[in-house]
């Protein structure tokens, strides 16, 4: 069997392709296209549709549990909640460099993995960290309980005013 003959341009004149060859080429390309599209579908398979992680939205108790000057670390959530005169705020303890957990020092946060240092409100002092520790969204439910949303960050300095 001869190989597929495509339309050829000979001396400025197009040789038409035979019907049989046209259908052959069309079939080959259809097969290739459908295989390609199926492959795209397969590649999407390993992208997780839901995350089986610990909840990023969690209750931290009532404002009364946080008198001025309180500082509470939620180890499992990797979040520190701090209450000062102006209000209450939550800072992520996950280093912005490569995801290690920073440890609380006197007036700093230190990352053990590559030595990044952050000041007491999370701004980078030194080390390879590309940006400040994110401040997290804090809000209050109608029943008065406070909630931290670790999936939403807010600009540094945004404090939840306790009423």
């Amino acid at each position: 069997m001869s190989s597929f003959q495509r339309g050829q341009c000979i001396q400025g004149k197009w040789e038409s392709i035979s019907r049989r060859d046209f259908f052959g080429v069309a079939a080959a390309w259809s097969a290739a296209t459908s295989m390609g599209l199926a492959l795209i579908g397969l590649v999407k398979f390993p992208i997780p549709a839901l995350f089986p992680d610990i909840a990023r939205l969690f209750k931290i108790g009532k404002p009364g549990d946080y008198p001025v000057g309180t500082e509470k670390i939620f180890e499992e959530k990797k979040v520190v909640v701090i209450r000062d005169q102006e209000g209450l705020y939550a800072i992520s303890l996950t280093c912005t460099h490569l995801g290690c957990v920073v440890s609380r020092q006197a007036n700093r946060f230190d990352c053990p993995c590559h030595g990044s240092k952050f000041d007491s409100i999370g701004r980078v002092l030194s080390g390879p960290a590309p940006k400040a520790l994110p401040w997290l969204k804090v809000f209050q439910l109608p029943d008065g309980k406070l909630v931290v949303n670790a999936a939403r960050s807010v600009p540094t300095g945004t404090k939840f005013v306790v009423t």
């Binding site: 990352c111 390879p128 590309p130």
Partner: protein, 512 residues
């Protein structure tokens, strides 16, 4: 009658059975030796005859075979470990402990698996250096160099994925760092402010971990990659790698080999006079044979049958590898720390030693050290045979005195530059320490890693112009990268302690 036949068949069973799969006589003549290789699916990946130059010990040091042998040892011990290993967050750590402390011979098997990994990584690196410095990547062998690069990446991938499986602190925090390196293109997309729309780093990380944190999904994916996908891929590419060695005319060798270079290597007297006996032989088939076939235009001079010489050499190297690995495994246990704890990072959290050079670069900029520079390096390695196409004599270490000079000079230069850079950063810090509010973009572009790469590129370019040779430039650049890699790896292994601080010795680390 048939009963007698039956008895006769029964009596001759050993012979007929053997003849059914070995269809030629004993390998005593050249002909049967060739058949021995050709008619065996596993052996025929070798050519039937090899050049004597191939057997020079100081030419290859047997590095490729040692790498392949350690991979074979890893396959066998890995399959054994899978009997007890359970890829579940709740059970993985305990099952490794069972293997280490309870299963008969388990400690030795796990230790061998661990040590064979180290031997494989070292021999793969040295093998690459050998192929580079003897110019064996040139001409028809360029594609095989590319397959070699793929094998190198697969080797590192295998060791990286295997690192998480014990589910101890070492594993957990090394993979935390590793998976966040995969997410580090965010450093760049954040700067451009396009992360919410285009986040290749985040996609990479979720693909590796199956989640945003290291947990059951990550463990099962690493297990799947380590025990299924990557070994399969490695076997496929390894077969192609071996096969191409044969198709490209055996190992590279010089055009003119002096008799001294072949001294002491077994020879086949008949081979040298084969053409004298049949001078009228025609070579009609030659138009179908590639030009690099060892037989084209030449007789089988200075070749010997693969069986038994080559196989004896290969078996000896395999035994040597096994012996080294077993001795190491007997005396040194594979590490196993406390069970993984997501709340308390290991301090210092170090990756396996062969990634520590990169980890040192990562401690300046996550994206550049973890993604940028490794990508540039791999791309550069892959393109070597396509950018350096100079015709030259193959098969000599460093080619000639000029190559030796350039390699030595580059060794000295790269050592000085790398050590100076490390001393400088340890003593004075880097941009962020002097200008706390500097833009991350500046650090991304100008950090010790990129400065080193620029200095090496400049050095190599200078050679290219001075000697008017791409090969010389390649030797300079390759040497600089290798030397720098070794120094960075050593530095991060020995001199980096808690909080990635500088310490002269691990014994000086503060107790915590």
């Amino acid at each position: 009658m048939s009963f007698r036949d039956f008895l006769h068949n029964l009596a001759s069973l050993p012979k007929t059975f053997r003849d059914s799969f070995v269809r030629h006589g004993r390998p005593t003549t050249d002909r049967t030796r060739s058949q021995m290789v050709m008619s065996n699916v596993f052996l025929h990946i070798h050519s039937t005859r090899i050049h004597r130059y191939t057997l020079r010990k100081t030419f290859t040091f047997g590095l490729g075979i040692i790498a392949a042998a350690s991979f074979f040892i890893l396959l066998v011990t890995g399959v054994l470990l899978m009997i007890y290993y359970k890829p579940s967050v709740a059970l993985a750590y305990d099952s490794i402990k069972d293997i280490q402390f309870i299963a008969p011979g388990g400690r030795l098997i796990r230790n061998i698996h661990r040590w064979a990994t180290n031997v494989m990584i070292v021999s793969v690196l040295f093998h690459m250096a050998r192929v580079f410095y003897t110019a064996a990547y040139k001409e028809t062998r360029s594609f095989n160099w590319l397959i070699g690069i793929v094998l190198f990446v697969l080797t590192l991938g295998l060791s990286f994925t295997g690192y998480l499986l014990p589910w101890d602190q070492l594993a957990y925090w090394a993979i935390t760092i590793g998976s966040n390196i995969a997410a580090s293109p965010r450093e760049l997309t954040d700067l451009l402010g396009i992360t919410p729309y285009f986040d290749p780093g985040g996609l990479m990380k979720t693909l590796i971990l199956g989640s945003e944190e290291i947990g059951q999904e990550a463990l099962i994916r690493f297990f799947w990659l380590h025990c299924m996908v990557l070994p399969l891929a490695l076997v496929l590419f390894l077969s192609a790698h071996f096969w191409r060695v044969r198709k490209d005319g055996g190992l590279s060798r010089p055009d003119n080999i002096s008799p001294e270079e072949l001294e002491g290597i077994e020879q086949d007297e008949d081979a040298n006079s084969a053409f004298d006996k049949a001078p009228q032989k025609t070579y009609g088939l030659m138009c179908l044979v590639r030009g690099t076939s060892p037989a084209v235009g030449r007789g089988p001079q200075d070749t010997v049958p693969s069986w038994p010489t080559l196989f004896v050499a290969e078996t000896a190297l395999f035994m040597l590898t096994l012996a080294i690995v077993c001795i190491l495994a007997y005396f040194f246990n594979a590490p196993l720390k406390e069970i993984a704890n997501a709340a308390v990072p290991e301090n210092p959290a170090k990756a396996p030693w062969y990634f520590l050079g990169l980890q040192e670069l990562v401690s300046y900029s996550a994206f550049m050290g973890g993604v940028g520079i490794p990508s540039i390096t791999l791309l550069g390695l892959a393109l070597i045979p396509y950018l350096d196409r100079e015709k030259q004599s193959l098969g000599h270490w460093f080619d000639n005195s000029q190559g030796r000079y350039v390699a030595t000079a580059s060794l000295v230069y790269a050592t000085c530059v790398t050590v100076a850079m490390l001393v400088f950063t340890v003593k004075f810090g880097w941009l962020r320490n002097w200008f706390p509010h500097i833009s991350q973009l500046v650090i991304l572009l100008i950090n010790p890693g990129t400065v080193l790469v620029a200095l090496f590129a400049f050095w190599s370019l200078r050679y290219m112009i001075k000697f008017d040779s791409t090969r010389i430039a390649a030797i300079g650049l390759f040497t600089c990268f290798i030397v720098s890699f070794v120094i960075l790896t050593y530095f991060a292994t020995i001199h980096r302690g808690p909080n990635w601080g500088f310490y002269w010795m691990p014994s000086q680390w503060p107790v915590h």
